[in-house]
Structures are given as C-alpha cells and as structure tokens.
C-alpha cells in the first residue's frame, strides 16, 4: 500500500493534497482534535474519490490514542485504504501494539480475521493483520514490513490463538519466521520443505508444459498404449 | 433325543446330510439377507438398491460372493500369520455350530439338545475370541481398537442376554428349545415378559454388532475394526458369520419369545404352516434389526458399557426375580405381565432420564432489513418460514 499511495503522491501536487484534506476534516471535526501522533495525519488525506468509505481515521485515531497511552514512543502510520483503515507499525513493536489493540476496551479488536504475507519484492515482505472487533464492529488493517534478508517478526499467537496456523502458513509460503511461535513447522507444505517458499515472487510458476503434457513418459501411466 | 425327518438309518450319514443342509441354508440365507439388507437400506434412503444382476438385483450378492472368492487373499507382512489366518474360522465355526441345535420346525433340527438354549448361548459367546484374534493379529491399530471394543462389548452383553434367557427357561421349565416352544403354544412369552423381550432385543443387537451398537466395526471411527486388513474369502467369512448370527439370533428370538412354530396356530399345525410361521417371525426380527440399523446412530463405547452394566443387567436380574416370585408363590401370570411391563416402562424411563433430552432453544437474533420494497414481501415470507 505505501508504494501505491506514494506513487499517487508523486503525481499529485502538494496543493491538491491540501484541498483534499479540508472536506475530510469538515466531515469529522473531532478527528483532527484526537490526532495526536504526527504519523497519523500524514496520509489520512489521501482519499481521492467520492465513494462512501468508512470515516477516515476513526479507528486509526482510537488505535493511535490507545497506543500513545500504553506504549509511548511507538510510531504508527495510519491511512485510509480502499476498504479499510490501514495502520503501519514498526516490526519490533508489533506484539506490543497487538496486545494493546486486543486488550484496550476502546478498541477490543478481539478477532483476527486474517493474517497474510505479501511479497513486496525489493521492499521486503509485508505481514498484514486484519483485525476486527465483534463488540464494536469496527475493523482495522495493521501492517508491518520485514526485510527480505531478516524476515523475522514476533508471533502474535499469544494474543490470538487464531494466528497460530496463519503464521505457520505465512512461514510456509514466504519464509517469514515468527519468533516465539509455539509450533512453527510446515503446515501446508511437506514437513521437510523448509527452504523453498512458493508464494515469493522470485519463485515463478512453472510452465505447465514442463511438468505435464507433451513430455509424459510413454510407460508408467498405465495407458492403453503401454498394454 | 435325535429326530430327523430324513432317516437314512446311519447316524453319521444323517448328521452329515443335516449339516450339509445347514451349510446350504446358511449360505443361501446369508446371500438373501445381504440382498434384503441392501434393499431395505435402499428404500429407507429412497434409493433403488441393487438392480442389475438378476431380477431386482437378486443375484447381486451371489456375484459379490464370486468376486470375493476370486480376490487375492492379502495378509499384512507384519501380521501374526497363524492367528491372522485362523481368526475368520474362530468367528465362523461357533456361529455355525450354534445353528445345529436350533429347531426350525417341530421335527426338524440337526440335534434336539436338552441343553439347547445353554448350548446356543455358550457357543455364540465364543465368537469374540475370533474378533480379538483378528484385531490383535492384523498388526493394525484400528483393528486392535476394534478387537478390544468387540471383546468388551460381546462379553458384556453376553451377561444380560444369558440372564434373560435364564428367566425364560425358569418359566418354561426347560432348556430344550423345542420344549420352550411347546410351552408357548397358547400365549408367547413376550406377552408375559416384555422386559425380558426388550433386553433380549437390545442384547442381540449388541451381540450382532449392528447399529446402534456397531462400535467394534464402526465405519467412521475404526473403519471396519477387526476386519480392516482382511480381504477376499477371509473377509467374506466374517461377513457370512455376521449374517448367520443375525439369522441365529432372529431364530432364537422367534423361538424363545414369539412361540416359534407353534403360536398362534397351536401344536397341530402342519409342517408347511410351521415353516411359514417360523419364517414370518424370523423375518420380523430380521427386518427389525435391519430397520434399526438404518434408523439409529452409534453409541460411544463408554456409553455402551455403562448402559449394559448399569441398566440392562439389573433389569435382567429384576426379570429373573419376578419370575422367581411367580414360580415360588404361584402368583397368576397376570402379575408377571404387570410387573414386567412396569419394568419395561422403568427401562424406558431410565433411558429417558439418563439422556439430556431437554429440548435446546436457539436464541433467534432478528436481522431486519429496512428496505421499503421488502416490507410487503417479508411478512408472509417469515410467516411461512
């Protein structure tokens, strides 16, 4: 997401951004008040179309406030995505932020919908947590970026047990190591397949022809020709 | 007392002929029973069942039997060879042996034993050894589990079965199956002993390892249990034994509780009527057993055991006790009917109480749409839903 938005930023002039900010602020006057961390306001203005969307910053501000209270010094970067509010968190803070997100009564993000890895090629990997609160009925996307050569991130399986298998899957597919995971062994891949990560972008799809098709062995498939 | 209709003269020859007749009967009846079971299950499930081989698929099981005989006789490499290969016989022989003393009509049985009832119970009770052998020797964990379950279940349910049959024998005053039948020429015993009848049916279901007691062979848990590693002819021997014991228990039930070939036609009924009677009664039992198989789910092993030891055995002893009271004090049979009926009601009540039958109410959270066009339609839609 940051890349996508930054590209648009480059295209848009600073004046455009200012203009866009005003209607958002007009819609929610209280948002601008609560916006304490400087990181949060940076990208909150980036709604570029008129489609109805969740109020920019609503949940992000709550999260920022809660994090600012519980964990001073932790930086968050929040902006409005296409369907969700996206909050970027430093890799080392992820476990702390997650604990706050779950335990803080204002947030009560008690449901981990989805945990996925994304290979951003030269920008390393992203680990994306889709959180939701069943009580408050709000949701937020938390992202963290891990470097390609140091693909480590703290496991959140102690916060949500649901993360257990999701993390194992992300480990299978991207080779991201989740530290302190209770049982980080391959889940979907064979038990010994710990050096090959299929969903990485540098792992291209095999041409189907190569493994099936014209080069089928004449014998061995029990075909009528062999009988 | 040896009474055979075909009196060749030589006792050995007679017996041989009788046994051969039995083998033929057993095989044919097993084939027919399998066909019947498939048909009944098909109808219960609104299917057609076997339709291809022969009219209405009558020869389907014969074709299956041929296929099974032709199949390779597989034995796992790590199985204990002798035990593995003998186990089908250990199941098959006792079952077959029990058939010897069952009187099909007044004059027709291989051997009219004075201890007929005792003999049948004793011999069929041996079958569990075969299951245990099969389960242990297959060197398969499912088979082991199944064998253990079979042993536990068969031994446990042998007890209420025997005790109810003892209650019957007390009243009839004999262990000879023919005399038990003669005793019932006016009123069959299930009228006087509904509780005993109920226990007999339940115990027979358990002994037959049919639903709801098919725990040893449970398809969805231990995948056939002791038979899992068997194939071809050995497997079909287990199958044959299982259907033969279905026949035996049905015959036993109709003889002991339904008055065999006597009731309601009395002692003077002709041979064909006798055959018809016993056939009808046995068929009733068989149909019931098959029906139950497709109507009920399986119990769990611990529930099965506690049901046996905590419910069935005390009630079986209650039946014996009631019979004893009637015999000792000479009370009228009506008393027996009443008390035994009360015992049956008690059994039902225990089942009712033991199970959490309280209906669960679901909490319904309404999700009401606000669409204006929806209003008209929703009223009757939710009403009919």
């Amino acid at each position: 997401m940051p890349d996508e938005d930054s590209e648009k930023d480059a295209g848009a002039s600073a004046g455009d951004q200012k203009e866009e900010e005003t209607p958002a602020a007009a819609e929610q006057p209280e948002d601008s008040k609560v916006e304490q961390p400087p990181a949060a306001e940076q990208k909150a203005e980036e709604e570029e179309d008129a489609r109805p969307r969740p109020p920019a910053g609503g949940i992000a501000d709550l999260l920022a406030a809660a994090v600012a209270e519980a964990l001073p010094g932790v930086k968050l970067e929040a902006y409005q995505g296409m369907t969700d509010v996206i909050v970027e968190v430093e890799r080392d803070d992820i476990l702390k932020v997650m604990s706050v997100a779950k335990d803080d009564p204002r947030l009560a993000l008690n449901f981990l919908r989805c945990l996925s890895g994304v290979d951003q090629e030269e920008d390393g990997f992203e680990v994306i947590y889709h959180l939701m609160s069943l009580e408050k009925k709000h949701d937020v996307v938390i992202k963290t970026n891990v470097a390609r050569d140091d693909a480590h991130v703290a496991s959140v399986a102690s916060v949500w047990k649901a993360a257990n298998w999701h993390e194992r899957e992300a480990r299978d597919m991207f080779g991201i190591t989740f530290d302190d995971h209770p049982h980080l062994v391959p889940l979907l891949l064979p038990e010994d397949m710990t050096d090959h990560f299929p969903l990485r972008k540098d792992n291209p799809l095999a041409e189907i022809e190569e493994w099936q098709g014209d080069e089928l062995p004449e014998e061995g498939f029990g075909g009528s020709k062999t009988r | 007392m040896l009474a055979l209709t075909y009196d060749v003269g030589n006792i050995w020859l007679d017996s041989l002929l009788g046994v051969l007749a039995l083998v033929a009967l057993m095989t044919v009846s097993a084939l027919m029973l399998i066909w019947l079971e498939r048909k009944i299950s098909a109808r219960i499930q609104m299917r057609l069942g076997p339709m291809r081989v022969g009219p209405y698929g009558l020869l389907q099981t014969a074709a299956d039997a041929l296929k099974l005989i032709g199949k390779e006789d597989l034995r796992p490499k790590t199985a204990n060879r002798w035990v593995f290969e003998l186990a089908p016989f250990a199941v098959f022989v006792p079952t077959f042996a029990a058939l010897v003393t069952i009187p099909f009509t007044r004059d027709w049985a291989i051997a009219f034993l004075d201890l007929g009832l005792f003999y049948v119970v004793a011999v069929t009770g041996l079958a569990f050894v075969g299951f245990l052998m099969a389960g242990w020797a297959s060197d398969n964990k499912y088979a082991l589990l199944g064998g253990m379950r079979a042993a536990a279940q068969l031994i446990s349910y042998e007890v209420p079965m025997v005790v109810t049959l003892v209650a019957v024998a007390m009243v009839a005053g004999s262990l000879n199956l023919s005399e038990i039948v003669l005793f019932q020429n006016r009123i069959p015993l299930f009228v006087w002993q509904p509780l005993g009848f109920f226990i007999f049916i339940v115990a027979a279901l358990a002994e037959l390892e049919r639903q709801p007691f098919d725990i040893p062979t449970a398809e969805s848990e231990v995948v056939g249990g002791p038979f899992i590693e068997y194939s071809g002819i050995r497997w079909s021997m287990f199958f044959l034994a299982s259907y033969t014991s279905l026949l035996i228990y049905s015959l036993l039930g109709s003889i002991v509780f339904l008055g065999g070939w006597e009731w309601p036609l009395g002692t003077e009924a002709g041979l064909w009527l006798q055959i018809l009677l016993i056939l009808v009664k046995t068929s009733l039992f068989i149909a019931f057993f098959m029906w139950v198989r497709f109507a009920l789910v399986r119990l769990r092993i611990d529930q099965l055991m506690s049901y046996c030891w905590k419910v069935l055995i005390p009630l079986a002893f209650l039946q014996v006790f009631l019979n004893g009271l009637v015999l000792v004090y000479g009370w009228p049979d009506g008393f027996l009917l009443l008390t035994s009926g009360a015992g049956l009601a008690l059994a039902m009540y225990i089942i009712y109480r033991a199970v959490d039958t309280e209906p669960r109410e679901l909490r319904m959270v309404p999700a009401r749409g606000g669409g204006s066009s929806a209003q008209a339609a929703t009223v009757d839609a939710t009403g009919s839903g």
Binding site: I86, V118, L134, K161 | Q45, V297, R298, L299, L362, T378
Partner: protein
C-alpha cells in the same frame, strides 16, 4: 502384600494416524491421535494434501480467469466464494453491480448455503454412525437444488457463474418458478433430518456437551460462522457488516448457547431454514434489468490498491484479500478460508474426549479440505 502401584497395569499411549485415507476425515486430512485406550490425549492435525496453490496461480492470470479457482476452494459453498472474490474485484475496480445481479447472487448464495448445510447435516450423521441414512436425506434435497444450479450455471459443482460486475449470463426464464417449486421439498428434507436426528436420544448423548468451546475461546481461535454462533456469539457478517443487499431481508440468526456439537447441528439446521426465507423474499423482490453494468470494461485493470472483502460463507467468514499493483492480474490474492481457521481449533476441542467424539467433532467443524488447503 502387593504394593498398590504394582497392581497398576502398564499402559502405553498409541498413536493412530487417522487419515489421509479415512472415511470420516472429509477429504484428505490427517490427524495423528495419541490415544490412551479410547481417550484422546493429543491431536496433531496435518493438512496440505490438497494444496493446489490457488493463490499463486491466481497471481498469474487476470481477474476473470481466477474465478474458476474460487469454486475449487470451498467446493460445497462455491457461490459464496465467487461472491467474495467478485466483491473484492468490484471494490478494486469500483464496479457497480446491477440490482438484478445482486438479487440473483443472493438467491443462489442462500440456496448454496442450504446445500452446504444439508451436506453437513448428512455427513454429520455419518460421523455419528448413521449408515448413510442422514446422508441420503440431505443429498436428496441437495440434488434438487443443484438441478437448479445446473439449469442456471450449467454445472453441478464448479459453477463459475459470478463475474466481477455481475453474472456471466442471465438466469433462465422459469428460474423463479423453479426455485419456488423446490423450496417445499427442501423444507421437507430439513424436516426429515430434524425428525431423524434432533430428538433422538442417542444423538443427544453423542453430541450434548461434547467438543464444547466457550464464546471467548471461539473468538480467540478465530472461529466464524455456525461454530461461532453455536457458542452464542451474535455475529453474522450478513447482519453486522451487510454486504451485497442483505440489509433488505428479514431473517433470524440462530444462536446456540453451549457451543457443543448439538448446538452446531441445531444452528445449521435453523440457518438453512432461514436461508430459505431469504430466498423467498429475494424471489418476491427480484427485479428485471441488466445483469452487468453499463460500462463494463473489456479488460479489467485494477488501480494500485488493496481490498479485503468478506462474506458470510456457509462455514464462516470467507475473506478475499486482494492486492493490486495495477495491471490486469492480482498481485497477491489471499483467501481467508473459514475451514482453515475453524480447523485450527481442532486440538483444543478434541483433547480429552473419546476417539468416537474426535470423529464427530471433526465432522461438526464441517471442513472442506479444498478450502483448508486452497
């Protein structure tokens, strides 16, 4: 005198490999049970036998072509998967779905929920020990509904009918009547299953209090769908985060109280009934009109963005996380499959119960291995 501990028999826990070829693992799923007699001491689920890399494959083909893979994840609730995926693409491309398409989608999705639940009810009976009876009762009605699906989409299982923006083609003229004709049959089938199982004492002893999971645990484990609702959590995406046109219908969401197998059974039975209600309402309101938006681009090109859309599938929240970097292919497609998340809680539900219960608990999760492994 013999010491007491000498009388204790020496017991060994044995490990039993249940699956991948086992009749009650609902596909190619393996669980290694460590059992002490009949008690389950430990469970280690092994999945991945059916991993076909749908996510990776989808990255290499355009948005329309990947629909086929959505059918093959949860192959018992295919329309919901297509719905989630198409919604994701629609969000990304900002396509407006025409009314008629939305209604048809809802009708098909809800019928699909019924078929899926019928399948569950039947298969659950088999896990408990029915010799096929409950299965055929469920299948009997499921087939009728699938006949409709076949009439509409052309296929009985892999529909590939929804398209980003609408539907592949319009439903046949007699669609409404066809569905209306089937509804009484489905009700009858549900009633049969109800009669067959709900009050049966043996079903009661086998299911009540078994595999129970509390509401907090369920949420923590990320369970969704009927499992979550059986635990008493009032959460249904159709109601709480309305997507498509679900805010136009009146229906009830059944909630259990104990979270055990019996509640899961009841909740699904009732959910199927409620789905039929939604279908009836949707049929009444079904408008005429186009099925695809006016300005439908021939080639779908997404902006550089990411979307997460979720639908209330038959097994729970089926989410699609779609990252686009521009171009006509997804950059990353992650499917949040309900079976996967629900199955992860298997160990917590199973440990301490009997072997027979382990089978029933697995059945109650109602997994689809295509959905677990993707």
């Amino acid at each position: 005198m013999v010491q007491e501990h000498e009388l204790e028999p020496e017991t060994v826990d044995i490990g039993v490999n249940m699956g991948p070829q086992h009749p009650s693992t609902h596909g190619v799923f393996r669980m290694v049970l460590t059992i002490d007699g009949e008690r389950v001491v430990d469970v280690e689920p092994h999945i991945g036998y059916m991993h076909r890399g749908a996510e990776k494959l989808s990255e290499s083909m355009d948005y329309r072509a990947a629909i086929g893979f959505q059918d093959r994840t949860d192959y018992l609730a295919q329309f919901m998967n297509e719905q989630a995926y198409c919604m994701a693409v629609e969000e990304l491309l900002e396509l407006e779905v025409p009314e008629r398409s939305e209604y048809i989608r809802v009708i098909l999705c809800e019928l699909n929920r019924v078929t899926s639940h019928l399948m569950f009810l039947g298969a659950f009976g088999i896990d408990l020990g029915y010799f096929g009876t409950s299965f055929t009762y469920g299948f009997r009605e499921r087939e009728r509904i699938q006949d409709i699906f076949e009439e509409v989409t052309g296929d009985r299982l892999m529909y590939a009918y929804f398209r980003p923006g609408g539907l592949a083609w319009d439903v046949p003229d007699n669609f409404v009547q066809m569905v209306r004709d089937v509804l009484p049959h489905t009700r009858q089938g549900l009633k049969d299953l109800d009669l067959l199982m709900t009050q049966n004492e043996i079903v009661a002893v086998r299911t009540k209090g078994i595999g129970a999971m509390s509401a907090e645990e369920s949420i923590n484990w990320g369970l969704s769908g009927p499992l979550l609702r059986a635990a008493g959590v009032d959460w249904d995406l159709r109601k709480d985060k309305p997507y498509s046109i679900y805010d136009r219908f009146d229906y009830d969401i059944p909630l259990g109280s104990h979270g055990d197998l019996f509640d899961r059974f009841l909740v699904r039975l009732e959910e199927a009934r409620q789905s039929l209600c939604i279908v009836e309402q949707a049929l009444d309101q079904l408008p005429d009109g186009p099925i695809m938006p006016e300005k439908m681009p021939r080639r779908l090109r997404g902006p550089e963005a990411e979307v997460y859309t979720a639908v209330e599938g038959a097994r729970g929240e089926y989410g699609v996380y779609l990252v686009s970097k521009g171009g006509d292919k997804p950059y990353r497609l992650k499917m949040r499959s309900p079976s996967f998340c629900n199955l992860s809680a298997l160990r917590d539900m199973t440990v301490g119960s009997y072997v027979a219960d382990a089978v029933a608990i697995l059945g109650s999760i109602d997994i689809v291995l295509g959905c677990v492994d993707r």
